[in-house]
């Protein structure tokens, strides 16, 4: 199921940051997804040339019949500039999915839950955070989120709201290149000491999900193993150029 290409209709477009945009796709035949899964999108030119990319689903499965994807514009990419510059509500796109059974968290799996994101690696983790909130899961959860600067924090306002809900979810930001005046948070790349600080309140039974550039993902996975988390409780997703 879910393996056939289907024509999705774009029903919403909104900017998340100056280079990141979300698209809502209404899907005629959609069996639902699990938080962390992705879809493939296929673009076909008039001469038959086609190109596919996979994009993580950002929305929670509780929203039936549609998914949000969040796409960072990659200069020189074949797909993301098209999505950013050309696609408007009402357009139709070929979509296949949902795909992926490994990098998945559902409320029934429990916690505590540590989510670690670099840049647009936050997208599948946002599906988990949104699902956690909508499902009424009370498991303790933290998002450690590395962004370059304050204007590049994807979902900044919504993350603030989720953290303010008082249901056990909080967000720890690190800003690696530009910090606002008076910034007291982390201001460096994610390292092992940062993981120690963030993991400490959650404890050794934590399930961890890390998504971002390869270097970040490997720092996190190796660091968490050294801190005593069993490798089978650490799930990783590297994004490379197929995410463009």
């Amino acid at each position: 199921m879910g393996l056939e290409w289907q024509l999705a209709t774009v029903t919403g477009v909104r900017d998340e940051t100056p280079t990141v945009r979300s698209f809502t796709l209404a899907l005629p035949a959609w069996d639902g997804h699990r938080p962390g899964q992705h879809v493939d999108i296929r673009l076909t030119a008039e001469d038959g040339y086609s190109v596919e990319r996979s994009y993580s689903i950002a929305s929670e499965p509780e929203r039936g019949g549609e998914v949000d994807i969040t796409v960072e514009r990659i200069e020189g990419g074949e797909v993301s500039p098209f999505l950013h510059e050309v696609v408007v509500p009402g357009d139709r796109l070929e979509v296949r999915g949902p795909i992926g059974g490994y990098f998945v968290w559902e409320a029934a799996l429990g916690g505590p839950l540590l989510l670690v994101a670099g840049g647009s690696g936050v997208v599948p983790l946002m599906a988990m955070a949104r699902h956690r909130a909508r499902a009424g899961s009370g498991v303790a959860a933290r998002l450690l989120f590395s962004s370059r600067g304050p204007d590049e924090i994807i979902y900044a306002d919504e993350l603030d709201r989720l953290a303010a809900a008082g249901d056990g979810f909080d967000v720890v930001h690190t800003l690696t290149r530009h910090q606002p005046v008076g910034w007291t948070g982390f201001a460096r790349r994610i390292d092992e000491q940062m993981l120690v600080d963030v993991l400490e309140p959650l404890g050794a039974g934590t399930r961890a999900y890390a998504c971002g550039p390869t270097a970040l993902v490997e720092t996190v996975a190796n660091g968490l193993v050294r801190l005593g988390l069993p490798p089978d409780r650490i799930r990783t997703e590297r994004f490379g150029p197929t995410g463009t």
């Binding site: 879910g2 393996l3 992705h38 879809v39 493939d40 596919e52 996979s54 990659i74 020189g76 296949r96 999915g97 795909i99 992926g100 059974g101 490994y102 990098f103 790349r189 550039p213 390869t214 270097a215 990783t236 997703e237 590297r238 994004f239 490379g240 150029p241 197929t242 995410g243 463009t244």
Partner: protein, 104 residues
């Protein structure tokens, strides 16, 4: 220099590896179901790993999956106008779960 290396490592155009998970759609079209949670054994080093965690090189003329332990090629997929070539000689086996059952 350290900063330059760090910048390059942050650049998705330089970072060519993704996870087997990312090519799950292509694999599903071949195997008939989502195999990203399935296990495969590397024929070279005999490590058993989840397909979704294999290293995927998806920007060449085809898709290559490499063993996360020894980096040998496990699966090659090349789509051509005459059909799709699937070369799994690098795998001792792939274990696909029974229909309707997701493996974890």
């Amino acid at each position: 220099m350290e900063e330059r290396i760090a910048l390059m490592r942050d650049d998705p155009a330089v970072d060519l590896t993704v996870d087997g998970n990312a090519v799950g759609g292509l694999l599903a079209a071949i195997f008939g179901s989502d195999v990203t949670s399935s296990h495969g054994q590397c024929a070279t080093c005999h490590t058993v790993s989840v397909v979704g965690t294999m290293r995927a090189y998806a920007r060449g003329p085809g898709v290559i999956l490499r063993c996360p332990a020894c980096a040998e090629v496990v699966v090659r997929v090349v789509e051509t106008p005459r059909g799709t070539y699937v070369d799994i000689r690098g795998a001792a086996y792939l274990r696909v779960p029974p229909a309707g059952e997701a493996s974890g």
